[in-house]
Point group: C2
Chain length 200, copies 2
Protein backbone atom coordinates (compact mmCIF):
# COMPACT_ATOMS: atom_id res chain seq x y z
CA UNK A 1 0.00 0.00 0.00
CA UNK A 2 1.36 3.35 -1.02
CA UNK A 3 2.63 6.20 1.15
CA UNK A 4 -0.63 8.10 1.09
CA UNK A 5 -2.38 5.25 2.88
CA UNK A 6 -3.06 5.36 6.61
CA UNK A 7 -0.24 3.61 8.51
CA UNK A 8 -2.52 1.40 10.67
CA UNK A 9 -4.12 0.15 7.43
CA UNK A 10 -0.73 -0.66 5.91
CA UNK A 11 0.27 -2.54 9.06
CA UNK A 12 -2.98 -4.51 9.04
CA UNK A 13 -2.56 -5.40 5.35
CA UNK A 14 0.95 -6.64 6.07
CA UNK A 15 -0.40 -8.90 8.82
CA UNK A 16 -3.02 -10.35 6.47
CA UNK A 17 -0.32 -10.87 3.81
CA UNK A 18 1.54 -13.19 6.20
CA UNK A 19 -1.36 -15.66 6.09
CA UNK A 20 -0.90 -18.55 3.66
CA UNK A 21 -2.34 -17.99 0.19
CA UNK A 22 -3.02 -14.27 0.82
CA UNK A 23 -1.06 -11.97 -1.49
CA UNK A 24 -0.51 -8.24 -0.90
CA UNK A 25 -3.43 -7.27 -3.14
CA UNK A 26 -5.91 -9.53 -1.30
CA UNK A 27 -4.43 -8.43 2.03
CA UNK A 28 -5.14 -4.80 1.11
CA UNK A 29 -8.72 -5.72 0.17
CA UNK A 30 -9.19 -7.50 3.52
CA UNK A 31 -7.77 -4.51 5.42
CA UNK A 32 -10.25 -2.22 3.65
CA UNK A 33 -13.01 -4.68 4.54
CA UNK A 34 -12.11 -4.44 8.23
CA UNK A 35 -12.68 -0.68 7.87
CA UNK A 36 -16.25 -1.39 6.75
CA UNK A 37 -16.98 -3.59 9.80
CA UNK A 38 -18.72 -2.31 12.94
CA UNK A 39 -16.20 -1.59 15.69
CA UNK A 40 -17.76 -4.46 17.71
CA UNK A 41 -17.27 -6.90 14.87
CA UNK A 42 -13.61 -5.88 14.49
CA UNK A 43 -13.00 -6.31 18.22
CA UNK A 44 -14.69 -9.74 18.19
CA UNK A 45 -12.54 -10.81 15.23
CA UNK A 46 -9.39 -9.72 17.08
CA UNK A 47 -10.51 -11.50 20.25
CA UNK A 48 -11.22 -14.71 18.32
CA UNK A 49 -7.59 -14.74 17.12
CA UNK A 50 -6.09 -14.23 20.57
CA UNK A 51 -8.58 -16.56 22.23
CA UNK A 52 -7.97 -19.42 19.79
CA UNK A 53 -4.22 -18.99 20.12
CA UNK A 54 -4.35 -18.86 23.93
CA UNK A 55 -6.86 -21.61 24.72
CA UNK A 56 -6.21 -24.19 22.01
CA UNK A 57 -3.28 -26.60 22.43
CA UNK A 58 -2.38 -30.16 21.57
CA UNK A 59 -4.39 -33.02 23.10
CA UNK A 60 -2.30 -34.76 25.77
CA UNK A 61 -2.99 -38.07 24.04
CA UNK A 62 -3.38 -37.77 20.24
CA UNK A 63 -1.76 -34.30 19.81
CA UNK A 64 -4.76 -33.00 17.84
CA UNK A 65 -5.75 -29.39 18.56
CA UNK A 66 -8.25 -29.01 21.40
CA UNK A 67 -9.20 -26.55 24.14
CA UNK A 68 -9.58 -29.44 26.63
CA UNK A 69 -6.82 -31.44 28.28
CA UNK A 70 -7.80 -34.55 26.31
CA UNK A 71 -9.72 -34.08 23.05
CA UNK A 72 -13.35 -35.26 22.53
CA UNK A 73 -12.23 -38.16 20.31
CA UNK A 74 -9.66 -39.52 22.78
CA UNK A 75 -12.10 -39.17 25.69
CA UNK A 76 -15.01 -40.82 23.78
CA UNK A 77 -15.58 -44.29 25.29
CA UNK A 78 -17.26 -45.52 22.11
CA UNK A 79 -14.10 -45.09 20.04
CA UNK A 80 -11.87 -48.11 19.52
CA UNK A 81 -8.55 -47.23 21.17
CA UNK A 82 -6.82 -50.31 19.81
CA UNK A 83 -6.59 -48.74 16.33
CA UNK A 84 -4.58 -45.55 15.79
CA UNK A 85 -4.69 -43.62 12.52
CA UNK A 86 -1.47 -41.59 12.15
CA UNK A 87 -1.90 -38.33 10.20
CA UNK A 88 0.20 -35.31 9.33
CA UNK A 89 -2.06 -32.52 10.61
CA UNK A 90 -5.34 -31.68 12.37
CA UNK A 91 -6.93 -31.02 8.95
CA UNK A 92 -6.52 -34.72 8.15
CA UNK A 93 -8.46 -35.69 11.29
CA UNK A 94 -11.32 -33.50 10.05
CA UNK A 95 -11.16 -35.24 6.64
CA UNK A 96 -11.41 -38.72 8.19
CA UNK A 97 -14.16 -37.67 10.59
CA UNK A 98 -16.19 -36.46 7.60
CA UNK A 99 -16.32 -40.01 6.24
CA UNK A 100 -18.18 -41.07 9.44
CA UNK A 101 -16.74 -44.55 8.86
CA UNK A 102 -13.68 -44.58 11.09
CA UNK A 103 -14.20 -45.47 14.73
CA UNK A 104 -10.61 -45.72 15.94
CA UNK A 105 -8.51 -42.91 17.38
CA UNK A 106 -5.85 -40.67 15.82
CA UNK A 107 -2.31 -39.51 16.28
CA UNK A 108 -1.29 -36.16 14.78
CA UNK A 109 2.40 -35.89 13.85
CA UNK A 110 2.29 -32.13 13.14
CA UNK A 111 4.47 -32.48 10.06
CA UNK A 112 6.27 -35.00 7.89
CA UNK A 113 9.94 -35.99 7.84
CA UNK A 114 11.87 -33.68 5.55
CA UNK A 115 15.60 -33.60 6.36
CA UNK A 116 16.14 -30.93 3.66
CA UNK A 117 13.87 -28.54 5.62
CA UNK A 118 15.39 -29.58 8.94
CA UNK A 119 12.36 -31.65 9.96
CA UNK A 120 13.81 -34.70 11.71
CA UNK A 121 11.99 -37.37 13.76
CA UNK A 122 12.54 -35.23 16.87
CA UNK A 123 10.47 -32.38 15.37
CA UNK A 124 7.43 -34.66 15.01
CA UNK A 125 5.20 -36.20 17.71
CA UNK A 126 6.71 -39.66 17.20
CA UNK A 127 7.90 -40.09 20.77
CA UNK A 128 4.32 -39.53 21.99
CA UNK A 129 3.09 -42.18 19.52
CA UNK A 130 5.59 -44.74 20.82
CA UNK A 131 4.51 -43.94 24.39
CA UNK A 132 0.88 -44.69 23.48
CA UNK A 133 1.85 -48.06 22.07
CA UNK A 134 4.09 -49.13 24.95
CA UNK A 135 1.24 -50.50 27.12
CA UNK A 136 0.37 -53.19 24.56
CA UNK A 137 -3.31 -52.20 24.11
CA UNK A 138 -2.87 -50.97 20.53
CA UNK A 139 -3.41 -53.67 17.86
CA UNK A 140 -3.06 -51.69 14.65
CA UNK A 141 -1.51 -48.43 13.48
CA UNK A 142 -2.76 -47.11 10.12
CA UNK A 143 -0.21 -44.84 8.43
CA UNK A 144 -2.43 -42.22 6.79
CA UNK A 145 0.15 -39.70 5.64
CA UNK A 146 -0.12 -38.27 2.10
CA UNK A 147 1.10 -40.30 -0.88
CA UNK A 148 4.08 -37.98 -1.39
CA UNK A 149 7.82 -38.54 -0.99
CA UNK A 150 7.74 -37.07 2.54
CA UNK A 151 4.50 -38.89 3.43
CA UNK A 152 5.84 -42.25 2.26
CA UNK A 153 9.21 -41.74 3.97
CA UNK A 154 7.52 -40.81 7.26
CA UNK A 155 5.18 -43.82 7.04
CA UNK A 156 8.11 -46.14 6.37
CA UNK A 157 10.22 -44.65 9.16
CA UNK A 158 7.45 -45.04 11.75
CA UNK A 159 6.50 -48.52 10.48
CA UNK A 160 10.10 -49.64 11.05
CA UNK A 161 9.96 -48.32 14.61
CA UNK A 162 6.63 -50.01 15.37
CA UNK A 163 7.02 -53.45 13.82
CA UNK A 164 9.57 -54.68 16.39
CA UNK A 165 6.98 -53.79 19.07
CA UNK A 166 4.65 -56.44 17.61
CA UNK A 167 1.98 -53.98 16.45
CA UNK A 168 0.29 -54.40 13.05
CA UNK A 169 1.12 -51.46 10.75
CA UNK A 170 -0.93 -50.70 7.63
CA UNK A 171 -0.88 -47.99 4.95
CA UNK A 172 -3.86 -46.32 3.22
CA UNK A 173 -4.72 -47.84 -0.16
CA UNK A 174 -3.81 -45.74 -3.20
CA UNK A 175 -5.68 -46.05 -6.48
CA UNK A 176 -8.23 -44.29 -8.66
CA UNK A 177 -10.33 -41.72 -6.84
CA UNK A 178 -13.97 -42.84 -6.72
CA UNK A 179 -15.92 -41.10 -9.48
CA UNK A 180 -12.67 -40.25 -11.24
CA UNK A 181 -12.20 -40.81 -14.95
CA UNK A 182 -9.45 -43.24 -15.92
CA UNK A 183 -8.39 -41.11 -18.85
CA UNK A 184 -7.47 -38.22 -16.55
CA UNK A 185 -5.61 -40.22 -13.91
CA UNK A 186 -1.85 -39.61 -13.74
CA UNK A 187 0.49 -42.50 -14.55
CA UNK A 188 1.57 -43.15 -10.97
CA UNK A 189 -2.01 -43.32 -9.69
CA UNK A 190 -2.94 -45.62 -12.55
CA UNK A 191 0.04 -47.84 -11.83
CA UNK A 192 -0.93 -48.00 -8.14
CA UNK A 193 -4.52 -48.83 -9.12
CA UNK A 194 -3.26 -51.67 -11.31
CA UNK A 195 -0.77 -52.95 -8.77
CA UNK A 196 -3.35 -52.96 -5.97
CA UNK A 197 -6.13 -54.47 -8.11
CA UNK A 198 -8.68 -56.64 -6.32
CA UNK A 199 -9.81 -59.98 -7.79
CA UNK A 200 -13.55 -60.15 -8.28
Amino acid sequence: MADHNALPLIILAEKFAKLPGIGMKTAQRLAYFVMSMDENEAVEFAEAIVNAKKTVHNCGCCQNLTEREVCPICSDDERDRSVICVVESPKDVTAFERTREYNGVYHVLHGLLSPMDGITPDSLRIRELLARISDGSVKEVIMATNPTVEGDATALYIANLLKPLGVKVSRLAFGLPVGGILEYADEVTLFKALENRNYM
Copy 2:
Protein backbone atom coordinates in the same frame (compact mmCIF):
# COMPACT_ATOMS: atom_id res chain seq x y z
CA MET B 1 -15.45 -27.47 11.06
CA ALA B 2 -16.75 -30.64 12.65
CA ASP B 3 -17.82 -31.28 16.24
CA HIS B 4 -14.51 -32.75 17.29
CA ASN B 5 -12.75 -29.45 16.60
CA ALA B 6 -11.87 -27.03 19.38
CA LEU B 7 -14.61 -24.40 19.75
CA PRO B 8 -12.27 -21.35 19.75
CA LEU B 9 -10.89 -22.63 16.42
CA ILE B 10 -14.38 -22.99 14.96
CA ILE B 11 -15.25 -19.45 16.09
CA LEU B 12 -12.03 -18.07 14.55
CA ALA B 13 -12.67 -19.88 11.26
CA GLU B 14 -16.18 -18.40 11.16
CA LYS B 15 -14.72 -14.89 11.60
CA PHE B 16 -12.27 -15.45 8.73
CA ALA B 17 -15.11 -16.78 6.57
CA LYS B 18 -16.90 -13.43 6.90
CA LEU B 19 -14.08 -11.72 4.99
CA PRO B 20 -14.74 -11.20 1.27
CA GLY B 21 -13.48 -13.99 -0.99
CA ILE B 22 -12.69 -16.32 1.93
CA GLY B 23 -14.72 -19.56 1.87
CA MET B 24 -15.16 -21.91 4.84
CA LYS B 25 -12.35 -24.17 3.67
CA THR B 26 -9.81 -21.33 3.38
CA ALA B 27 -11.07 -19.88 6.67
CA GLN B 28 -10.34 -23.19 8.38
CA ARG B 29 -6.83 -23.23 6.88
CA LEU B 30 -6.21 -19.68 8.13
CA ALA B 31 -7.45 -20.60 11.62
CA TYR B 32 -5.02 -23.53 11.70
CA PHE B 33 -2.28 -21.17 10.55
CA VAL B 34 -2.97 -18.85 13.49
CA MET B 35 -2.32 -21.89 15.71
CA SER B 36 1.15 -22.17 14.21
CA MET B 37 1.99 -18.51 14.95
CA ASP B 38 3.93 -17.39 18.02
CA GLU B 39 1.58 -16.03 20.68
CA ASN B 40 3.19 -12.60 20.17
CA GLU B 41 2.49 -12.67 16.46
CA ALA B 42 -1.15 -13.60 17.06
CA VAL B 43 -1.57 -10.77 19.58
CA GLU B 44 0.05 -8.28 17.16
CA PHE B 45 -2.29 -9.43 14.38
CA ALA B 46 -5.31 -8.94 16.65
CA GLU B 47 -4.06 -5.52 17.75
CA ALA B 48 -3.53 -4.46 14.12
CA ILE B 49 -7.21 -5.15 13.42
CA VAL B 50 -8.50 -3.19 16.40
CA ASN B 51 -5.97 -0.40 15.92
CA ALA B 52 -6.77 0.08 12.23
CA LYS B 53 -10.49 0.08 12.98
CA LYS B 54 -10.17 2.54 15.88
CA THR B 55 -7.66 5.04 14.49
CA VAL B 56 -8.49 5.14 10.79
CA HIS B 57 -11.44 7.27 9.66
CA ASN B 58 -12.47 9.38 6.68
CA CYS B 59 -10.39 12.45 5.79
CA GLY B 60 -12.34 15.60 6.71
CA CYS B 61 -11.80 16.89 3.18
CA CYS B 62 -11.63 14.11 0.55
CA GLN B 63 -13.23 11.29 2.63
CA ASN B 64 -10.34 8.92 1.88
CA LEU B 65 -9.24 6.70 4.78
CA THR B 66 -6.58 8.24 7.01
CA GLU B 67 -5.44 8.23 10.62
CA ARG B 68 -4.95 12.03 10.52
CA GLU B 69 -7.64 14.68 10.56
CA VAL B 70 -6.81 15.66 6.97
CA CYS B 71 -5.08 13.07 4.75
CA PRO B 72 -1.51 13.52 3.38
CA ILE B 73 -2.80 14.20 -0.13
CA CYS B 74 -5.24 16.95 0.93
CA SER B 75 -2.62 18.55 3.18
CA ASP B 76 0.14 18.40 0.53
CA ASP B 77 0.74 21.97 -0.70
CA GLU B 78 2.21 20.73 -3.97
CA ARG B 79 -1.05 19.11 -5.08
CA ASP B 80 -3.35 21.08 -7.35
CA ARG B 81 -6.56 21.62 -5.35
CA SER B 82 -8.41 23.05 -8.35
CA VAL B 83 -8.81 19.57 -9.87
CA ILE B 84 -10.80 16.87 -8.01
CA CYS B 85 -10.86 13.27 -9.17
CA VAL B 86 -14.06 11.59 -7.91
CA VAL B 87 -13.70 7.86 -7.20
CA GLU B 88 -15.82 5.09 -5.73
CA SER B 89 -13.44 3.81 -3.04
CA PRO B 90 -10.03 4.28 -1.32
CA LYS B 91 -8.65 1.44 -3.51
CA ASP B 92 -9.15 3.67 -6.56
CA VAL B 93 -7.05 6.44 -4.98
CA THR B 94 -4.23 3.90 -4.60
CA ALA B 95 -4.62 2.91 -8.26
CA PHE B 96 -4.33 6.54 -9.45
CA GLU B 97 -1.42 7.30 -7.11
CA ARG B 98 0.43 4.34 -8.63
CA THR B 99 0.42 6.06 -12.03
CA ARG B 100 2.46 8.95 -10.45
CA GLU B 101 0.93 11.17 -13.14
CA TYR B 102 -1.99 12.76 -11.34
CA ASN B 103 -1.27 15.84 -9.28
CA GLY B 104 -4.78 16.95 -8.35
CA VAL B 105 -6.75 15.89 -5.29
CA TYR B 106 -9.47 13.24 -4.80
CA HIS B 107 -12.95 12.79 -3.49
CA VAL B 108 -14.02 9.32 -2.33
CA LEU B 109 -17.74 8.61 -2.64
CA HIS B 110 -17.64 5.33 -0.64
CA GLY B 111 -19.99 3.60 -3.05
CA LEU B 112 -21.95 4.06 -6.26
CA LEU B 113 -25.60 4.87 -6.76
CA SER B 114 -27.64 1.68 -6.82
CA PRO B 115 -31.30 2.28 -5.96
CA MET B 116 -31.99 -1.50 -6.16
CA ASP B 117 -29.58 -2.03 -3.23
CA GLY B 118 -30.92 1.00 -1.38
CA ILE B 119 -27.86 3.14 -2.16
CA THR B 120 -29.25 6.60 -2.83
CA PRO B 121 -27.35 9.92 -3.20
CA ASP B 122 -27.69 10.43 0.58
CA SER B 123 -25.67 7.25 1.26
CA LEU B 124 -22.69 8.60 -0.69
CA ARG B 125 -20.35 11.49 0.19
CA ILE B 126 -21.91 13.76 -2.46
CA ARG B 127 -22.90 16.52 -0.03
CA GLU B 128 -19.24 16.80 1.06
CA LEU B 129 -18.21 17.10 -2.61
CA LEU B 130 -20.67 19.94 -3.21
CA ALA B 131 -19.36 21.71 -0.09
CA ARG B 132 -15.81 21.55 -1.46
CA ILE B 133 -16.90 23.15 -4.71
CA SER B 134 -18.99 25.94 -3.16
CA ASP B 135 -16.06 28.35 -2.64
CA GLY B 136 -15.35 28.58 -6.38
CA SER B 137 -11.70 27.46 -6.24
CA VAL B 138 -12.33 24.15 -8.05
CA LYS B 139 -11.99 24.35 -11.84
CA GLU B 140 -12.49 20.74 -12.89
CA VAL B 141 -14.06 17.58 -11.50
CA ILE B 142 -12.99 14.32 -13.16
CA MET B 143 -15.58 11.58 -12.78
CA ALA B 144 -13.43 8.46 -12.36
CA THR B 145 -16.04 5.89 -11.39
CA ASN B 146 -15.95 2.46 -13.05
CA PRO B 147 -17.37 2.03 -16.57
CA THR B 148 -20.34 0.03 -15.23
CA VAL B 149 -24.06 0.81 -15.12
CA GLU B 150 -23.75 2.10 -11.54
CA GLY B 151 -20.50 3.95 -12.25
CA ASP B 152 -21.95 5.68 -15.31
CA ALA B 153 -25.20 6.54 -13.52
CA THR B 154 -23.31 8.01 -10.54
CA ALA B 155 -21.04 10.03 -12.84
CA LEU B 156 -24.03 11.40 -14.75
CA TYR B 157 -25.97 12.21 -11.57
CA ILE B 158 -23.04 14.15 -10.05
CA ALA B 159 -22.22 15.85 -13.37
CA ASN B 160 -25.79 17.17 -13.51
CA LEU B 161 -25.44 18.58 -9.98
CA LEU B 162 -22.09 20.23 -10.73
CA LYS B 163 -22.63 21.77 -14.15
CA PRO B 164 -25.05 24.48 -12.93
CA LEU B 165 -22.28 25.55 -10.50
CA GLY B 166 -20.08 26.46 -13.46
CA VAL B 167 -17.45 23.80 -12.82
CA LYS B 168 -15.96 21.79 -15.70
CA VAL B 169 -16.88 18.10 -15.41
CA SER B 170 -15.00 15.37 -17.32
CA ARG B 171 -15.16 11.58 -17.50
CA LEU B 172 -12.25 9.09 -17.81
CA ALA B 173 -11.62 7.92 -21.37
CA PHE B 174 -12.66 4.36 -22.16
CA GLY B 175 -10.97 2.31 -24.86
CA LEU B 176 -8.53 -0.52 -25.39
CA PRO B 177 -6.30 -1.25 -22.42
CA VAL B 178 -2.67 -0.46 -23.28
CA GLY B 179 -0.85 -3.65 -24.23
CA GLY B 180 -4.19 -5.40 -24.77
CA ILE B 181 -4.86 -7.46 -27.86
CA LEU B 182 -7.69 -6.24 -30.08
CA GLU B 183 -8.90 -9.78 -30.72
CA TYR B 184 -9.65 -10.31 -27.02
CA ALA B 185 -11.37 -7.00 -26.34
CA ASP B 186 -15.09 -7.24 -25.63
CA GLU B 187 -17.53 -5.58 -28.03
CA VAL B 188 -18.41 -2.65 -25.81
CA THR B 189 -14.77 -1.74 -25.17
CA LEU B 190 -14.03 -2.00 -28.88
CA PHE B 191 -17.00 0.19 -29.70
CA LYS B 192 -15.82 2.77 -27.13
CA ALA B 193 -12.31 2.65 -28.62
CA LEU B 194 -13.73 3.27 -32.08
CA GLU B 195 -16.07 6.01 -30.93
CA ASN B 196 -13.32 7.84 -29.01
CA ARG B 197 -10.72 7.44 -31.76
CA ASN B 198 -8.08 10.17 -32.06
CA TYR B 199 -7.09 11.60 -35.41
CA MET B 200 -3.39 11.25 -36.09
